[in-house]
Symmetry: C2
Subunit: 232 residues, 2 copies
């Protein structure tokens, strides 16, 4: 609450300084209210009032209510990366690394399960900047794909040479599938999602290993060709 005239955050912050505090204040207030009351129940007026600013001020920093969700995205991605670090340090085999990173992602999201469920509708709209496939989301998305790249590069797994460059993105896609399941998961504590991860990872692991077999080469190539055709 006390005045903080000097920039105390990391030096060289590229953001223009003046409104940065207000921006963060609005963002933090919004994310807190989203968690407390849910997305639909949190009005822009409530966010503004709670943050002690005018409604229009929130719109100066965030183009719409939806854009506040993108802040949630970015933060979740950062926390996911941090939560995954111990796993990447500890595990060497591909399977445990993948499982660990997937579990870490769900760990991070769990406190926001109810809230996330309601807001994922916005993310699903293709034209929305909130879509995980959109250009506006490319930052967090690429960071996430890189994370799955690390799952791979740090592991002892031997992967088909053609498959390898595609695999991080495919694993990210699988992660999106896990999240889609998680969002719909009404089991207590989302236990089912954990079972999905533990059940699917060994299958993926086996599939990746099989992709190197000579007999399966044609199939592998067929699948990869299809994927290359389909991705943008």
């Amino acid at each position: 609450m006390t005045e903080q005239p000097a920039q105390t955050t990391t030096a060289g912050d590229p953001a223009t300084a003046r409104g940065e505090q207000t921006r963060q204040l609005i963002r933090d207030t919004a994310l807190r209210l989203f968690r407390e009351r849910g997305y639909a129940q949190t009005t822009m007026r409530a966010i503004a009032q709670e943050a002690g600013v005018a409604v229009g001020n929130a719109y100066y920093y965030f183009g719409s209510k939806d854009h506040l969700i993108q802040e949630f995205y970015a933060q979740a991605q950062i926390e996911h990366r941090a939560a995954a670090q111990p796993v990447l340090d500890r595990e060497e085999a591909f399977g445990p690394r993948l499982a660990g990173v997937l579990h870490a992602g769900i760990d991070v999201l769990t406190p926001s399960h109810e809230f996330a469920a309601t807001f994922f509708k916005t993310a699903a709209e293709p034209t929305s900047p909130l879509s995980p496939f959109s250009a506006e989301s490319s930052g967090p998305r690429e960071a996430a794909i890189d994370l799955f790249g690390e799952v791979l590069t740090g592991s002892t797994a031997k992967v088909d040479a053609e498959l390898r460059p595609q695999l991080p993105e495919l694993l990210w896609l699988a992660y999106m599938g896990v999240i889609l399941y998680w969002v719909h998961d009404r089991s207590p504590g989302q236990t089912k999602t954990r079972q999905l991860i533990d059940g699917a990872v060994p299958l993926v692991d086996r599939l990746v290993a099989l992709s190197r077999l000579r007999v399966l080469r044609p199939v592998t190539r067929q699948v990869l060709d299809l994927i290359r055709t389909l991705r943008h």
Copy 2:
């Protein structure tokens, strides 16, 4: 436009007669405007005005604007069924039957591509009655699953006995995946989606055939166990 006091539609219509005409008028007007202007751009006031009724009247028949989408669902499912019939009559092999039914589904949806893209956001919300997984959508959903059941039962394909009962629902799930891709497909005429179908069907076909091999039995069983655990 002329008065039509007597019930001229199929006799024994279970709906209460009085407001049925109004209901259909509102529904048809809404679906037309959705196609013409898009979902977000069509206001409830516009629907009411165009249909010549009061705004509140639309809410007497449809709980919300979203509920009008469910009408679209139902209609699309019926048209899909009809469009699939020739394929089911003509083809015998599993692959062509599946491909034909998938293409028929996209055929039916194509005129509404833009509109569908915007409204799928609502469908993605788990708590929404519009979710394809929701109880309220069980009618169209089960009809769709049955359609894929017909793809299977009418075909000459030999399927693993354990897999068979699960397969229709899995094929429907794959169809949902195709639609998800189609919604995001920005290629002219959604050509990419057609390529997805033509590329993925042979793989599914091969996979289904392989499921019977003794060597792959453990994997098949593992996958089926996982699915059984996960579905509700």
